[in-house]
Amino acid sequence: MALGDLLVDVAGVAKHFGEGETRVDALRSVDLQVHAGEVIALLGPSGSGKTTLLNIIGCILAPSAGRVALDGETVFDGKWLRGDLRRLRLEKIGFIFQAHNLLPFLTAEENVSVVLDLAGKSPAEGRARSRELLDYLEVGHRAPVKPALLSGGEAQRVAIARALANRPRIILADEPTAALDSKRAQLVMDLLRKLAVEQEACIITVTHDEKIFDRFDRLIHLRDGRLSDD
């Protein structure tokens, strides 16, 4: 398969918590490159550093050492090189959560358009894009419904729509299928793969769900803070 643009370039990233006797090395000199169109899985036992790595790529957690470049822009090299990390996340990264984490006071459509609103897009533009994404994810008919009235699968698809709203090229998913049954989990992963290809994005997923391992291009194992490709 021809590789697309290099969207995530993590080089020599280390992360430790605490100092001295209490020091825990969550990541030890991790290198990871993910290209457009790729769907990869981060696997590993609890405490292996999966979430730490996801948080670092998501610009939520600062590495102790190393360099991180997202979509061709070096964002961390010993220190954050962008002052406004939230803006950076808004522009470049979409998040899909284990629990869908939709805002309960907004409708499905508003949950998607809120991202565009934050990005400064007009309400009309936000509505149009929300409708487009919800229709694409086959939940358009649920647009005016609040999350409490959506099924687990519908809510997860709305959450995916939200993650894609601002056309990010990097999508980070944390156990996106954990709350879904086997059939819906397969459907969600197929959908993510389709999106990765169509939108030239990469998808990095933390998962324990063996049923969907065959849906990934690469399975990357983390053990004691070190990476190993399958």
Binding site: N55, D84, R87, F95, N101, L103, F105, D117, D174
Partner: protein
């Protein structure tokens, strides 16, 4: 997209209920402010009612409101003849209880000389006293109406007119009657007592003393000089109108005023804590949502706006409900509730400050939220 309004609409019933609860608290705060104002206003009402410049009272006393004062009624003639005096009138005050319509009324009886200072300045309904005896003009709060008769002491009086806002510092509504009736009410014995006194060979007690002489001075006359002159009379003391008002506030209602003032302070503090707690709790309940907002890129101003707008809406709604409720019920309070627009505005200002301070606590907690908590793995 206004997230604060969307969130409120999502939990509208709960928000309305919270506003209503806060509104009730604000009602109590406004009621206390009104009662405090009413106490001061009532206390001054009786002093201001005769619209005079000077009070001549018994020597060594601060009467007739702060302590008992008794001076000969004919002192009025001597005072009236002094240079600079335009008008002088003798006046008497006493509190009586009477029964009317099956209810016990506590009345503040003001006896005055008709045609002289001391009577009601404005009759709201009916007419002023027109005969020498057994007529009275009552404050509307007594519940009496023109044409009613009421027994006071040994005599039955007819209500001929009504006034408004006439009461003593205790809030007892006033009735005006002629000085001679008031003096009779104070001194006349019941028939049985009269017979006992007659059997003993004693003369019935008949005092011709009054509580004070009130004085209006001529334009340009020096009130302070007149007061100083009167003070030289060994059996009399004189107070200016300002002195009398100061004495009333400083001694007669001071403790009650301070008591209510202190209670008001405590109530405001409790309200501030309650508002702060509500807003803080509202924010803490939203921390996961705030983490999500941070994660998807919401700037601080969006999150601060969400908290502060809700806090201000809550505070202002509570204030509005409180104001509406107190305006609806204030006339049903046993004591007068006097609310000035200034008071309501000051309370609104205090609520805004409290809401902003409470929001600051919530904002502080929100700013500390790690967006990673939204990931939840």
């Amino acid at each position: 997209m206004n997230l604060a309004l969307k969130d409120i609409r999502h939990g509208l019933f709960r928000f309305i209920l919270t506003c209503f609860g806060l509104g009730l608290l604000m009602t109590v705060v406004l009621a206390m402010i009104g009662i405090y104002n009413g106490l001061v206003s009532d206390a001054l009402a009786v002093v201001k009612a005769p619209a005079v410049d000077m009070w001549v009272v018994e020597s060594g006393t601060q009467g007739p409101f702060a302590e008992a004062s008794s001076i000969p009624a004919d002192t009025r003639d001597a005072v009236a003849r002094m240079p600079g005096v335009a008008e002088a009138g003798a006046i008497n005050y006493q509190t009586v209880e009477a029964t009317h319509g099956g209810k016990t009324l506590r009345l503040y009886v003001i006896g005055y000389e008709t045609g002289r200072p001391g009577g009601p300045l404005r009759i709201a309904e009916g007419r002023a006293i027109g005969t020498s005896h057994f007529e009275l003009v009552a404050d509307r709060k007594t519940g009496l109406t023109p044409g009613d008769t009421i027994r006071l002491g040994r005599n039955r009086f007819t209500v001929v007119g009504l006034v408004e806002g006439a009461m003593n510092s205790g809030g007892d509504p006033a009735v005006f009657m002629t000085l001679s009736d008031a003096m009779g009410l104070q001194t006349e014995l019941s028939p049985a007592d009269q017979r006992v006194q007659a059997a003993r060979g004693a003369n019935p007690v008949k005092s011709a003393s009054v509580a004070a002489i009130i004085v209006r001075v001529k334009p340009g006359a020096d009130v302070d000089l007149l007061t100083a002159t009167l003070r030289q009379w060994k059996h009399l003391s004189a107070l200016t109108q300002a002195d009398q008002e100061t004495i009333l506030l400083a001694s007669v209602v001071d403790k009650a005023r301070r008591q209510i003032g202190l209670f008001l302070g405590i109530l405001l503090s409790v309200s501030a804590v309650v508002i702060a707690l509500i807003i803080y709790t509202m924010t803490m309940e939203k921390l996961k949502q705030i983490a999500t907002l941070k994660l998807i890129g919401a700037p601080d101003r969006t999150i601060i706006g969400l908290i502060v707008q809700q806090a201000l809406l809550l505070g202002m709604s509570g204030w509005g409900i409180g104001l509406a409720l107190i305006l609806l019920v204030k006339d049903n309070f046993p004591r007068r509730v006097v609310l000035e627009p200034f008071n309501a505005m000051v309370l609104a200002g205090i609520i805004v400050v409290v809401c902003l301070a409470a929001s600051a606590l919530g904002v502080r907690a929100a700013m500390k939220v790690d967006p990673a908590t939204a990931l939840g793995s």
